[in-house]
C-alpha cells in the first residue's frame, strides 16, 4: 500500500502535449478514477506512473520514493491492460506465476500464491487451460489475478471493462469494487465511461487535453463542477449551460422540472418559461427538449423527467412553467469556464 504522487508531470510527443502539467496526490487505499474523453492524456499519465513512458518534465513518487526514471520492475506496481495482455503461449497457471517467477521466488511459494490469487477470482478450475480457451470475462479475471499475485503497492487498470459486453460490465464493475475494498491497495483506474467512474471511484480526477480539471468525490464532481468542461462531461444528458452576457450558468436536466413539483419545497426555486420541441420516452426517463424564453435567447435546453411523474403530460409545441431549485444553479465565467460567484440574471 503506498501513496502515489505526481508532481508537475508533462509528456510531449513531438509537438503534442499529451500531458500538460498535472499534480495529483492519491489517498492510501483509495480507488482513484482518471476520467476523460479519448485522447485526453489519462492513459499516458497511467503509463508514466507504471514506468512505461518517461515524463518530459515533472516527478513521480510512489510510497515517498522518487521513481521517475526507474523501470517498471523497480516500482512495485501491477497493471491490468485493456487487452489483458495474457501470455498466449502459457497456461493460466504460468501466466499468473510469471511475475513471481521473474522475481525468482521458490516453486512452493509460487504454487501457494497462484492458488490464492486464482481463488480470489474463482478461476482455479482454469489453471491448466490456455488464454484462448477462456471467455472475455474469464480472461479479465486472470489478468486481475496476475496483477494481484505480487501484492503490489499500486494497482493500475487501463479501461479493463471496455472489452466486455454491456451486461457483463455491470456485474464486473460491482465485483471489481468489492474486491478493491477487500484488498485495500491503492488503485488508479482509467476510463472514459462516466458511469463506471461514478459507480466505482472514491475520487474522480477529470482530465481534458492533458490537464487536470477537477478532482473530488463523485458527488463533488457531479453536483459541484469546477468548470464547464466537467459540468458538460458528467451526466447524461449533460448539464444545461446557458450564456448570459459574459457569464454562464448551468443546471442539470434532472433538476429542471415542472414548477408545480417544487410546491412546498423548502428551497427557493428559479422559474423558467420552457417551450417544448421534442419528447423522447426512454423507458425510465423522459427527455424533453426545448427552448428557454426570449430573455435567454431561446437557448436550447433539456429536461429529464422520471416517467413515474405521470401527472405531468408534456406536449410538443406547448410552453410550460418549469423551475430549478436555486442552489442547484451553478455559475461559470464564460471566458475561462471556471466557477464564479453567484450572480443574478
Amino acid at each position: 500500500m503506498a501513496i502515489v504522487e505526481v508532481k508537475g508531470v508533462e509528456k510531449h510527443f513531438d509537438e503534442v502535449k499529451a500531458v500538460d502539467g498535472i499534480d495529483l496526490l492519491s489517498i492510501e487505499g483509495e480507488f482513484l478514477v482518471l476520467l476523460g474523453p479519448s485522447g485526453c492524456g489519462k492513459t499516458t499519465l497511467l503509463r508514466m506512473v507504471a514506468g512505461l513512458e518517461k515524463p518530459t518534465a515533472g516527478e513521480i513518487l510512489i510510497g515517498g520514493e522518487v521513481v521517475t526514471h526507474l523501470p517498471p520492475r523497480a516500482r512495485g506496481v501491477a497493471m491490468v491492460f485493456q487487452s489483458y495482455a495474457l501470455y498466449p503461449h502459457m497456461t493460466i497457471f504460468k501466466n499468473i506465476a510469471f511475475p513471481l517467477k521473474s522475481m525468482g521466488m521458490p516453486k512452493d511459494y509460487i504454487k501457494k500464491k497462484v492458488h490464492w490469487a486464482a481463488s480470489m477470482f474463482q478461476i482455479e478450475r482454469f489453471l491448466d487451460r490456455k488464454p484462448r480457451e477462456l471467455s472475455g470475462g474469464e480472461r479479465q479475471r486472470v489478468a486481475l489475478a496476475r496483477a494481484l499475485v505480487r501484492e503490489p503497492n499500486v494497482f493500475l487498470l487501463d479501461e479493463p471493462l471496455s472489452n466486455l459486453d454491456a451486461k457483463l460490465r455491470t456485474s464486473a464493475r460491482e465485483e471489481l469494487y468489492r474486491f478493491q475494498k477487500e484488498i485495500a491497495i491503492t488503485t488508479i483506474y482509467v476510463t472514459h465511461d462516466q458511469i463506471e467512474a461514478m459507480g466505482m471511484g472514491d475520487r474522480i480526477a477529470v482530465i481534458d487535453h492533458g490537464k487536470l480539471r477537477q478532482i473530488g468525490t463523485p458527488d463533488e464532481v457531479y453536483f459541484d463542477p469546477e468548470d464547464t468542461f466537467v459540468a458538460g462531461f458528467l451526466g447524461s444528458p449533460p448539464m444545461n449551460l446557458v450564456e448570459v452576457g459574459d457569464k454562464v450558468f448551468g443546471f442539470r436536466p434532472e433538476c429542471f422540472l415542472p414548477q408545480e413539483i417544487y410546491l412546498g419545497c423548502r428551497d427557493e426555486v428559479t422559474p423558467f418559461g420552457f417551450q417544448v420541441t421534442r419528447v423522447e420516452n426512454l423507458g425510465s426517463d423522459r427527455l424533453v427538449y426545448g427552448n428557454l424564453g426570449e430573455r435567454f435567447d431561446h437557448h436550447h435546453v433539456i429536461a429529464n423527467l422520471p416517467t413515474s411523474f405521470t401527472q405531468y403530460p408534456i406536449e410538443t409545441g406547448a410552453t410550460y412553467k418549469f423551475a430549478v431549485p436555486s442552489p442547484m444553479i451553478k455559475f461559470f465565467d464564460k471566458k475561462t469556464g471556471r466557477r464564479t460567484k453567484i450572480f443574478s440574471f
Binding site: 507504471a50 517498471p72 501491477a78 495482455a85 501470455y87 503461449h89 505480487r150
Partner: protein, 285 residues
C-alpha cells in the same frame, strides 16, 4: 425444371477453369515430370529418337540411381550442402534475431528506415559483389574451401532474415512485452522470456528460408570453389554436366530430382508465412 442451356454453360465454365489451371500446372511441372521419367528410363530407350519420350518403352530401371550414388560425388555434394546449410543457419540466427528486435522495438523511425536499407542490401549482394569477393576470399586463404561459403553466405541470408523477422515481430502486440516488464523483467528479460518463445514459428520460418537460400546459391559457389569434392549440389550437378564428356542424363536427372524434393516440400509448408512476412515488411514499411 432444369434449363439445359444453363447446365451447358456451367459445364463449359468448369471445363475452361480446370483446363486453364491444367495448362498452368503442366507448364510448371513438366521439367520435373521429365526428370522423374528420365531417371528411371533405360539408356537405349532414352536416346532413341523414334520412341515416345513420355512413356516407358522399355522397363524402368534403377541403374541410373545406382550410378548416381556410387559413381559420382553426388552424395558428397549433398553432405557439403547440408553442412554449409546448418552452419549458415546458426550464424544467421545469431545475427538476425537481436537485430530484428532492435529495429522493430528499440529504434523508432530510424529503425524503420534502417530496415528498408537492410532490405536493399539483400538486393545488391551476390550478383554485384562476387567479383571483389573472389579476391577477398583468396586473400583470406579460403579459396576452394567450404568455409568460404560459410563466411560469405550470411551476407545475403542476414539482410533477408532481418527483414522477414521484422515483419513477424511487428505483429506481436506491445502489450505483452509491457506486461512482462511490469511483471518484473527488464526490456531484455521481456525479450528473452516472452518474445522469443512466442516467436518460434517466425524463427522456424527464417531457418527454412535461410536453408533454402543456401541450397539455391550458385554464383558464389561457382566462383570460390574449384575442386569437385567441395562442390555443393547446386553447382556440382550442372558442372558435372558441363565438364563431363559423357552426358549421363539419367543419373543427372535423378540427382536433380533428389536434391529438389526435400527443399520443395519444406518450402511448401512455410510459404504462407513467408508471404505474410514479405508483404508485411514491404507494404507497411
Amino acid at each position: 425444371m432444369r434449363n439445359p442451356l444453363a447446365r451447358l454453360k456451367i459445364i463449359a465454365k468448369k471445363l475452361a477453369y480446370f483446363g486453364t489451371l491444367g495448362v498452368f500446372t503442366l507448364f510448371a511441372s513438366l521439367p520435373f515430370i521429365w526428370m522423374l521419367i528420365t531417371t528411371f528410363k533405360q539408356n537405349p530407350d532414352l536416346y532413341n529418337t523414334a520412341n515416345n519420350p513420355y512413356i516407358f518403352n522399355m522397363a524402368p530401371t534403377l541403374t541410373h540411381l545406382r550410378e548416381l550414388f556410387m559413381q559420382t560425388l553426388f552424395l558428397r555434394w549433398m553432405l557439403n550442402t547440408l553442412l554449409v546449410g546448418v552452419l549458415v543457419v546458426i550464424i544467421t540466427l545469431i545475427l538476425v534475431i537481436p537485430a530484428a528486435y532492435s529495429l522493430v522495438r528499440l529504434s523508432g523511425r530510424l529503425g524503420e528506415r534502417l530496415g528498408i536499407g537492410i532490405f536493399l542490401t539483400y538486393l545488391v549482394a551476390p550478383t554485384i559483389l562476387f567479383i571483389p569477393m573472389a579476391r577477398v576470399v583468396a586473400n583470406l586463404g579460403l579459396q576452394d574451401s567450404l568455409w568460404s561459403l560459410v563466411v560469405v553466405f550470411p551476407s545475403f541470408t542476414v539482410p533477408f532474415g532481418i527483414w522477414l523477422l521484422m515483419g513477424f515481430f511487428k505483429s506481436i502486440p506491445r502489450d505483452l512485452e509491457e506486461a512482462a516488464m511490469i511483471d518484473g523483467n527488464s526490456r531484455l528479460g521481456a525479450f528473452i522470456r516472452m518474445v522469443l518463445p512466442i516467436s518460434t514459428p517466425g524463427i522456424l520460418t527464417i531457418v527454412i528460408f535461410t536453408f533454402t537460400l543456401v541450397v539455391q546459391e550458385f554464383i558464389y559457389t561457382l566462383t570460390f570453389i574449384t575442386s569437385a569434392k567441395s562442390y555443393t549440389v547446386s553447382v556440382g550437378v550442372p558442372t558435372f554436366l558441363v565438364h563431363g564428356d559423357v552426358y549421363n542424363w539419367g543419373a543427372m536427372m535423378g540427382g536433380c530430382l533428389i536434391a529438389s524434393l526435400p527443399v520443395a516440400i519444406l518450402y511448401n509448408f512455410f510459404l504462407d508465412r513467408f508471404i505474410g512476412g514479405l508483404t508485411l515488411g514491404a507494404v507497411k514499411g
